[in-house]
């Protein structure tokens, strides 16, 4: 498909999605909202982890920091400034984490991100108990479900746009080289650490913003709610199912899985994590490159 045509089509779909809350019941707006949130999360996650193959397990650390920033600042600053602060804090945190671990082998990064959410959660809890003497905060913002949905929709669109633009730029080319072979990329004159760091900061900032925008949905926020490790896990499994190396992959994975999880958490609340884990193992075994690559494979095999 030609690029202008694809853009026109994407714009039409986006407009239709944006108009949807005016016609559908509130429950379905809520479902759309959650789904859009995960599309944005999975796409932002794949932005860094897809091409570099550095599996980040810290999604919820950034997500939670975003939500918590809104909880702390929502009565002090006007809303756009709060979002700006959240993005800034997320970027700064990603910079510190990236600077200390991305110079080293990928496994250090994984280990660090594995514990990051727990570390941030404990530190925030400690700060709240010992310094500010509050545990749990309220978010009072005059938003309904559809307002949050529209913001998330815009953010998801921006995330996809960034992902598309990076894929076509010199940065994207450098990233592909790093993903293929880091040593070769370094010898070809690519500043490997700087590019990884840049991508990680962009991806983490977007994830932080998703958390910040979704914060008003909870009304009441405390560390154990917003730093829930299931968020990291769901993001990862969605991006993997669709294919983390492709622009539309995370979206293709996020939509069906979100609906499935929504149904599972209602029908089997006690066995949710077992089913989630088994499904994940299955995906790693059957289609490690994602659904889109699998489809292409099948189509390629069908041809004579």
């Amino acid at each position: 498909m030609k690029t202008p045509l694809a853009f026109a089509l994407a714009a039409v779909v986006l407009a239709a999605l944006a108009a949807a809350p005016l016609f559908i019941p509130d429950y379905w707006t809520g479902v759309l909202l959650g789904m859009t949130g995960y599309v944005a999360l999975a796409t932002a996650w794949a932005l860094f982890s897809g091409p570099t193959r550095y599996v980040s397990l810290a999604t919820v650390a950034f997500f939670g920091v975003g939500a918590y920033t809104v909880a702390v600042l929502n009565e002090v600053l006007p809303y756009p400034l709060v979002l700006l602060c959240a993005g800034g804090i997320g970027a700064a945190m990603a910079l510190v984490v990236g600077l200390s671990t991305l110079r080293l082998a990928g496994v250090y990064f994984v280990i660090f991100t594995f514990g990051l959410a727990e570390l941030v959660r404990q530190t925030v809890s400690w700060w709240e108990v010992n310094v500010t003497y509050t545990m749990g905060r309220y978010v009072f913002l005059p938003f309904e479900g559809r307002h949050i949905y529209w913001q998330l929709l815009a953010l998801a669109a921006v995330t996809l746009l960034i992902s598309w633009a990076i894929g076509r730029s010199r940065l994207g080319l450098a990233l592909k080289a790093i993903g293929d072979d880091e040593t070769v990329a370094a010898h070809a004159g690519i500043n490997v650490t700087r590019i990884k760091l840049m991508l990680f900061v962009i991806s983490a900032t977007l994830i932080t913003l998703v958390g910040a925008i979704q914060a008003p949905r909870w009304t009441y926020i405390e560390p154990s709610i917003v730093f829930n490790p299931t968020v990291s896990f769901m993001t990862l499994i969605m991006a993997l199912l669709g294919g983390a190396m492709r622009l539309w992959g995370p979206l293709v994975g996020a939509v069906p899985l979100f609906l499935l999880f929504e149904w599972l958490s209602v029908s089997f609340p006690d066995h949710f994590s077992i089913i989630l884990g088994l499904l994940f193992i299955l995906i790693v075994f059957v289609m490690p490159q994602g659904v889109l690559a699998k489809l292409e494979d099948l189509r390629g095999r069908g041809k004579p």
């Binding site: 727990e118 400690w126 108990v129 077992i274 193992i281």
Partner: protein, 287 residues
């Protein structure tokens, strides 16, 4: 001051014991096992079941659970890890795949434990009598735990460095490509190493359950600390794991005593980062 040293060593002893299993799995079998901590928790619950249900002492539980952990790990390796090992084109791909698959396994084990035992804190009382060590009062079960960790650690070091079998394992850890040239069956070595790791995880679980409360969701923290100890000590190095484990225990105890108990995890991470900056391959690692 001295009491903190004693307490720190006792805590560090368990960290060392737990991390030895992980370092063997990662160093020799090349499997980064994120579900390691949940295996420990599963062993904790099994010990608790035997103690409260059958009135078996944890020492006897050790006799049952350690071989069980070895056998179960063999099965897990055969059906989950082996296909990934065969599929992976290089070491990096295996690392990513094993991280992903064990991340899934983590949620499965945690979910099973949650359904079986619920989310509450569990503990039992065994050998909870005070003992005087260098003027500090320590619970007897903690001392027993330290003694067990050190004994098992020493036995492992002897086996790895003084027997032919141990030499085979170390050869695979050092040069996985060249080991087959000397007639070493790397597949078998990897399988054995993974199973030994599982057996050590069960040992750690039994020992920990003697003096600590545990929950179904607590596995992640154990995995995290064990991972940090493994990296600090140097990938695949058993002596490194022992030293780094003891060090971590001391750091945690001192931070809890002199700064704030809520900041132990932050302190552990600081030590981890600081050491990585100076020695990226760990204390006992080779470049």
């Amino acid at each position: 001051m001295l009491e903190h040293v004693v307490n720190g060593l006792v805590l560090g002893g368990t960290y060392a014991l737990v991390a030895m299993g992980l370092t063997i799995q990662y160093g020799i079998a090349r499997i980064m096992n994120l579900s390691f901590g949940d295996t420990i928790i599963a062993a904790c619950f099994a010990t608790w079941l035997m103690f409260t249900g059958l009135a078996l002492s944890p020492i006897l539980a050790l006799v049952v659970l350690v071989p069980a952990g070895y056998a179960l790990s063999l099965v897990v390796y055969r059906f989950i890890m082996k296909p990934l090992v065969d599929r992976a084109p290089d070491e990096g791909a295996l690392e990513v795949d094993s991280i992903l698959v064990t991340f899934g396994l983590l949620f499965v084990i945690q979910g099973v434990l949650l359904t079986l035992f619920g989310g509450g804190y569990t503990s039992y009382s065994y050998l909870n009598s005070p003992v005087n060590v260098l003027g500090t009062t320590v619970a007897a079960n903690r001392l027993l735990a330290l003694a067990l960790s050190l004994a098992i650690g020493a036995a492992l070091v002897v086996v790895l460095f003084r027997t032919r079998w141990g030499m085979t394992l170390r050869a695979v850890a050092l040069a996985p490509q060249s080991a087959p040239l000397y007639g070493i069956d790397t597949n078998r070595a990897a399988r054995t190493a993974f199973a030994i790791g599982g057996a050590l995880a069960c040992t750690g679980g039994v020992v920990l359950s003697m003096f600590q409360t545990f929950t179904a969701t607590g596995g992640v923290v154990f995995t995290m600390k064990a991972l940090i100890v493994v990296i600090l000590g140097g990938k695949g190095s058993v002596p490194g794991a022992i030293v780094a484990g003891l060090l971590l225990g001391l750091v945690e105890t001192f931070v809890a005593a002199y700064i704030d108990p809520g900041l132990t995890l932050a302190a552990v991470y600081t030590v981890f980062l600081a050491l990585l900056l100076v020695r990226p391959n760990g204390l006992f690692g080779k470049a």
